[in-house]
Amino acid sequence: MSSATLRMGDVLLALKEAGKAQINPTRIQLQKFIYLTDVLGQIVGRPKPNNGHKTYKNGPYDPRIQNAVDALAFRGVARIAGVWRTPGGHLATQYALAKGGLVVLEKIEGNEDFFAKVWLAQLIGNELRRPGRGWARIVNLVYAEPTYVSTRPSGWGESLDFDNGLKTSSAFLIAAMRRVIESANIQSEVSGEWIVNRFFAYLDDFDANYAILRKEA
């Protein structure tokens, strides 16, 4: 399956989860949701997409996601749910699943290549729907992701190596999480649900305790 098709599937899964939260996400929110899906993909052994997310002005950005959104909207699989001009003069767009999208989504969910992603997208969607979170905070949560925190100061266009455990990254964070549970009970296999839950708890905690301090500084 080509990377363009995979990205289209990612967008549809993100739109579905947004729909469950009764949200029509913006492009930036879609980028962030898919970023989190890719970051957590390592817990189900999914490799990082080649030349994927890079640092950009609104956080991690993968141009293929935007291409996929445009292609889906053009083909009537996704629909544009709102357009407005931001105070900065840019066009902002909200998206939702179109009727045709539901049919495509059904096929994607039945595709073996997407099983792990469907499951992860659901877990991430569930975490976002927890009280105190919500899609409105997704940008802040991604800004607390360790790989982005450590790569952001290097400027725009830097590749985000979130699966490189030798750097400050989510891979390193997840390995440390596993180690704590292993030390408590060697026989325990840490579930994906637990890692996603604690990963979001980490993003929440970091955002609540340190992001504000940095902004003030």
Binding site: A176, I181, N209
Partner: protein, 330 residues
């Protein structure tokens, strides 16, 4: 360390939370575990309800109770002579029974199911899952949750243990361990002499190792393959074996050979677990001073590559003026 101090603090908060560990080990919902731990912690803080009693809570996911856990209800249960309480996922009491709520029982019960159990006493809580203690904390602050200058990196663990000896052990400043100070006989305590030193060191390290992700302290009587203290760091694990030398009130007697036994034990741990990057043997020596000086050696080859030289703390039983006059006579 690869994580910044801010990142490290966030990570530590979210994964050392006992409810998070329970959820991770048992595959239970975090919110359910969080509510359960909060409720039992409340009982531990309400020392009026517990008095000097210990309660063993057993979590039974499938059961359905009626009465909610409250300090008053727990006091009633204790008054009836029951110390083992089964609770459900809604924090209601399912049943209560008589029995000795000790760590071995707590471990065994948590292995059935498997499920979670908790030993709750005034000011302290130990949570077990799948047969092992996974969290042990004081619900009321004490001296060890102390000063900024006591906080150290795990790379300075030797200094951290020296601090502990100076502020907690020396002159029985925070831990009472002499049964007969004059004859240099150690107390046996509720759970054995080793536990007196082990517990105190465990608390100290837990509170004062600033860059440890977690510190686990095993409970006596739960099997020989379990380490005394395990410190989880960002790069692996450290193990500490705690021993004592001398005589205890129950007649237990340990001499020089104990040092070698401890070193062998650490070698076994280090060989078994490649993620353990360091081992320490700490001994609290209650033997007479001449024995401490003359009989504290061990064969050269018995120290594992990743194990440090044994640390032997001599337990002083005489006042400085007596020591001074003895030295002057010599």
């Amino acid at each position: 360390m690869q994580l910044s101090p801010d990142q490290f603090s966030s990570l530590k908060r979210v994964i050392t939370d006992p409810a998070a560990k329970l959820a991770g080990i048992l595959g239970e919902d975090f919110t359910v575990m969080s509510n359960l731990v909060a409720k039992i912690e409340q009982i531990s803080r309400a020392s009026v309800a517990l008095g000097s009693s210990r309660i063993l809570f057993i979590y039974d996911k499938g059961a359905k109770g009626i009465e909610a856990i409250t300090p008053q209800k727990i006091a009633d249960v204790i008054r009836d002579g029951n110390h083992i309480i089964t609770v459900d996922s809604m924090n209601c009491i399912v049943s209560s029974a008589q029995g000795d709520p000790n760590a071995v029982l707590a471990g065994d019960e948590s292995d059935k199911g498997p499920t979670a159990t908790a030993i709750c006493e005034a000011g302290r809580l130990i949570i077990f899952a799948k047969g092992r203690p996974i969290a042990d904390w004081k619900t009321i602050a004490d001296i060890t949750s102390g000063r900024a200058d006591w906080r150290r990196s795990h790379k300075e663990i030797r200094l951290c243990m020296d601090d502990h000896f100076k502020h907690c052990i020396e002159d029985e400043s925070n831990v009472v361990y002499w049964h007969d100070k004059k004859k240099r006989v150690l107390l046996a305590g509720r759970d054995g002499t080793e536990k007196i030193f082990h517990q105190s060191l465990f608390w100290w390290l837990k509170k004062n190792l600033s860059d440890a992700l977690d510190v686990y302290g095993e409970t006596l009587g739960m099997g020989q393959i379990k380490t005394d203290i395990t410190i989880v760091t960002d790069i692996g694990r450290l193990v500490i074996e705690v021993k004592w030398l001398g005589v205890s009130e129950t007649g237990g007697r340990y001499g020089q050979i104990r040092i070698r036994e401890g070193l062998e034990q650490i070698s076994i741990y280090l060989d078994k677990d490649t993620k353990m990057h360091g081992g320490y043997l700490v001994l609290y020596d209650a033997r007479p001073e001449d024995k401490y000086k003359a009989e504290s050696s061990y064969p050269d080859g018995c120290i594992h590559d990743r194990c440090e030289v044994p640390i032997i703390y001599f337990l002083q039983s005489e006042t400085p003026s007596v020591i001074a006059s003895k030295r002057a006579k010599k």
